[in-house]
Symmetry: C2
């Protein structure tokens, strides 16, 4: 008996940024698996059950959800933002590949969402207006040398860089080290955006220059966007400047 | 008298993937500016006016919308997907920077959306499950050498690559050339995904290998995802394989 598994992106956290498709998946599911702060966003009915787990337990969470679905149940794994961007969709795929053959018969529906970098960018202008990349700064799952190599390649080639998972209690130094590394290839005046809780009441969006940005001001819920050499600010009296990356290259 | 300008992301095209925030912006605006296929998605009231323009007229469209907003009107510029990803948000910023001082007083609200690569990825698994980049293949606004340099940098550093604007009548050879270029750094068996109209009734999602992919099968509405050396397929009897990029590095 093969059930159904939704992998749902709840967006950045503002209910106005949750798609109807995500709400329909949440309404259809009976069992919910996720990191507690994401589960807390849901208003579940009495016949729906939530099982929360810590944010570093993605694989065991994916396995538990797949095991429940394989009993014939309708199950949802929830992520903030988009589940395909440094979130649960890849963990579910990994668990399916390594798991019992029967899990391949489960009906998997991945529901995309507005990922953090898009929400942060929208609040400040269009910093992702030209070629960009997204890098997870977590070295739990890849060596730090790979992170440094990717930061160098992306900045040298002129990509705007969005950093996910910038810092945590267990990974306190990586973000500072990343800025240090980027200072080798990018000028000190490069614009850096710290976006936290975009679109939520406790939103905090701040801009710095690469030369004096302080990694200590970020936390694990911050999405960081580092401009390219083309990224610029439009001053506006009494308002936050608009930050954007032009669609065309002035130099190169 | 300064008005209000929404820059709205309508998502990939399925109404279930439009956020309530985007619908609210559409309900609030009186004048709409956009590429006709995006305007055609709206169900406007009799008191709302749509002004369509061709898809290569972003700057003149942005200027017209800003001029209308500066008369005190509430205006919406609409994009498919997310307006900050190779779409209208950067064009609006460019027009503001180059335009009359008064345009800086216009209340700008950018409404993010589900961008094409997220919608395509969700339909097939989690190909963007690890570090990735997005590159516009249009060389209308940047020299082709820059595109090639970025393709090389991204593929050598292990990024999954999403290509936007892959092909058009005016740009018929670029995608084939990009594949040719990528074959220098990536193995022939690298997974390539062509995603068209994700989530819409005419959806077409196909996978190929880099060695034998045919650029001629793409059109301007196709979003292309090129896996890294880590991207893999999980065969599933009778269903499309799940394609995903693991969160951890097997090799490197």
């Amino acid at each position: 008996m093969s059930g159904r598994l939704f992998v749902v992106g709840l967006g950045p956290g503002n209910p106005d940024q949750v798609t109807p498709q995500a709400n329909a998946a949440v309404a259809a599911a009976k069992f919910f698996y996720g990191y507690k702060p994401y589960l807390d966003r849901l208003q579940l009915r009495l016949d729906q059950t939530a099982v929360s787990s810590d944010n570093r337990e993605e694989i065991s969470r994916a396995k538990a959800a797949l095991a429940k679905a394989s009993e014939g149940e309708t199950v949802a794994v929830v992520s903030g933002g988009d589940p395909g961007v440094f979130a649960m969709a890849a963990a579910v795929c990994e668990a399916i590949e390594a798991g019992p053959e029967a899990w391949r018969d489960i009906d998997i529906e991945i529901v995309p969402g507005v990922t953090a970098m898009l929400a942060v960018a929208a609040r400040i202008g269009a910093p992702l207006g030209h070629d960009f990349c997204a890098i997870s700064l977590s070295d739990n799952l890849k060596p730090w040398e790979v992170v440094e190599r990717r930061l160098a390649a992306a900045s040298e080639a002129g990509f705007v860089i969005a950093l996910y998972n910038p810092i945590s209690k267990a990974r306190p130094w990586q973000l500072g080290k990343a800025f240090e590394h980027l200072r080798k290839t990018l000028p000190a005046e490069t614009i850096v955006i710290f976006g936290r809780a975009a679109g939520r009441p406790d939103e905090r969006i701040e801009t710095f220059s690469l030369g004096d940005v302080d990694a200590g001001k970020a936390d694990m819920a911050t999405c960081i966007i580092i401009g390219s050499m083309e990224t610029r600010a439009i001053p506006r009296g009494g308002r936050h400047p608009l930050i954007y990356t032009p669609r065309s290259l002035a130099s190169q």
